[in-house]
């Protein structure tokens, strides 16, 4: 068991002046399940591979516990990794795949068999121990890859999108299995995914990456409740938060004829005159009388438990003067969550009022969250 520390770690790929991972500072606690999330190409895999020793560290350092591993070869890091394509050894049986590390470490045969059996039992792989990987289903292969990792009892688990090759239903099942298995074993885990739902449901903490730069690392509740900047606000949550550019005047920020008051602290932190007002779909109060932002229901998405309304507003929703070219991008649509089975109809006129506690304010220029 161990902590994992990234200390200003950077990685430059040949022929690229921009680092794939830029000065990453991250501390993973002992036994913690940390999820790295971000859009494709943001450097998640590179981060994980730097930790595993499969990719060099050009600047900074990486430590596991007190041990500096920056320049250690992969075999000496005591890390087990689950790859996206599982990377099982095709010429070995399931049992040999799972036991390969123990064999390399020259563990006596009887003890090894016991450990393999134990892992196989945990993962329901006992009937398949003598099969070759080619004769397994996708889900079974995924479990063999997990088995190969847990049988080792390593200091750290690294998992790079281990569920992305499974179908949707199996993915949700396996998600909970992996999360509970990790809690039971208590091994420090770094898990990479591009799926924010996976990140929010599995992680003790979630680190959001963009273009190789760490945006925010917090608990799922922290990320959802207090996104540190516009990127995190838009990335976390589904459907995404409504982000509305607004001009600030003496009273506050103006959106669709409504005024959102700013605290003195927010005013002084503001660099320009514009803010972005963020309201999640569940942060609106729907009113049928005229008080609020007038809108019309365009699409009703019924999920049974919830209902999502896609409402068009008048063009003046954003109070910022937009260039004509940007006209198309200025938001006219607001997503609103209503209780499931509500009676909203397409074409219905509604009035939207942001709930006081549900408003996020961001500096339009820097994209940073204004103090609460």
């Amino acid at each position: 068991m161990a902590t994992v520390t990234f200390d200003g770690a950077s990685r430059y790929y040949a022929g690229n002046d921009k680092p794939a991972v830029d000065q990453l500072d991250l501390e993973v606690e002992d036994g913690e399940f940390l999820v790295l999330v971000g859009p494709s190409g943001c450097g998640k895999s590179t981060t994980l591979r730097m930790l595993a020793g499969l990719e060099g560290v050009d600047e900074g350092a990486i430590r596991i516990g007190e041990r500096e591993v920056t320049n250690l070869p992969p075999k000496d890091r005591d890390i087990a990794m689950v790859f996206q394509n599982y990377a099982l050894y095709p010429h070995m049986t399931v049992a040999d795949n799972i036991g390969f590390h123990l064999k390399i470490k020259k563990m006596p045969k009887a003890e090894r068999a016991e450990r393999i059996q134990e892992a196989a039992k945990l993962l329901d792989l006992e009937p398949y121990l003598e099969r070759k990987p080619a004769k397994l289903s996708g889900g079974q292969r995924q479990r063999v890859a997990m088995g190969r990792a847990i049988v080792r009892r390593p200091q750290v688990f690294c998992m790079d999108e281990p569920l992305s090759n499974l179908d949707a239903k199996l993915r949700v099942q396996t998600r909970t299995q992996i999360a509970s298995l990790q809690r039971r074993l208590g091994v420090t885990t770094i898990y990479v995914t591009h799926d924010q739902v996976e990140a929010m449901t599995m992680g003790d903490r979630v680190a959001v990456l963009k273009d190789g730069v760490l945006q925010q690392c917090d608990t799922p509740i922290g990320l959802f409740g207090k996104p540190k900047n516009l990127f995190v606000a838009g990335f976390i949550g589904s459907p995404a938060m409504n982000l509305i550019p607004a001009k600030v005047n003496g009273e506050g920020a103006l959106i669709g004829g409504q005024t959102i008051p700013l605290t003195p602290a927010q005013r002084s932190a503001l660099t320009g005159t514009n803010v972005v007002v963020g309201v999640r779909p569940e942060g609106w109060t729907l009113k049928s009388d005229g008080e609020g932002i007038p809108a019309m229901v365009e699409v009703v998405e019924e999920l049974g438990s919830d209902q999502f309304l896609y409402c068009s507003t008048s063009a003046e929703l954003a109070s910022v003067d937009t260039e004509p070219a940007d006209e198309a991008e200025a938001p006219h649509t607001v997503t609103v969550r209503a209780p499931g089975m509500s009676a909203f109809q397409r074409g219905e006129k509604v009035a939207l009022v942001p709930q006081p506690g549900a408003v996020h304010l961001f500096d339009a220029e820097s994209g940073d969250r204004l103090p609460d």
């Binding site: 070869p73 992969p74 075999k75 394509n85 050894y89 095709p90």
Partner: protein
Amino acid sequence: MAREKKRWGLTIVGTVVALVFLFPYLIMLVGAFKPRREILQVPPAYLPDNWEPGNFLTMWDTPETPLPFNLLSTVVISLGGTALALLAALPAAYYTARHRFRLRLPFLLLVLVTQMLQPTVLASGLFREFVELGINDTWLAMILVNAAFNLSFAVWIMHSFFASVPNEIEEAAWLDGCSKGQSLRRIMLPLVWPGIVTAVIFTFIACWNEFAASLILLPTDVNQPLTVALTRFIGQYESAWQYVFAVSIIGILPVVALFALIEKHLVSGLTAGGVK
């Protein structure tokens, strides 16, 4: 009914085609057992009146060529050439499959281009080179030549096998505690084995059959391989055809045996990427 007829037709056509191809071999086989005077007999007979298995014994000791040395020559040159080609091709194939370096494609194409140069074209140049090096008319010279001419095929076929093994499999082995050498031996080698076998056998057969360069580079009869020795039996005034046939049989036996052995491998080897 119609389908039955069609199958019969196919069998007959197949048999005829096979016979056409096998006929020279049959002549060779039968000829090897004929006494000398029966070979030149007019009109020729298909089967000998007197079977003469003694050809296979007397051929080892003739004034034309020291056949035991020739066989040894072929074996040494083939084994040496194959071993050397493999030794050079294996690391080259692994490296080009695993590393993207700047001159990777030019390198691979250059390797391919060497395949287009026939030994005959280069023989006189090689002859001078070996004279300079002082290894003219030696087995070593022919081992080098054979290895060089078979390198490109060996590199390419093994390259495609190495390339078909995902990087992550090797990386998984490193994380499982393997050194680079261990992962090569325990993971990569078993996975690319069919490719190696294919490359080795092709190279060996090519070395075994090589003729043109040996003819030019090996003037001394005890150094010459079977392919060259064979020509010694064909003289200006008379030819010992029974020995030509008998030696040919000895010469093609290993080739036939190897092909039979790898027939199955061959298909997967040539359609490479057997590992998923």
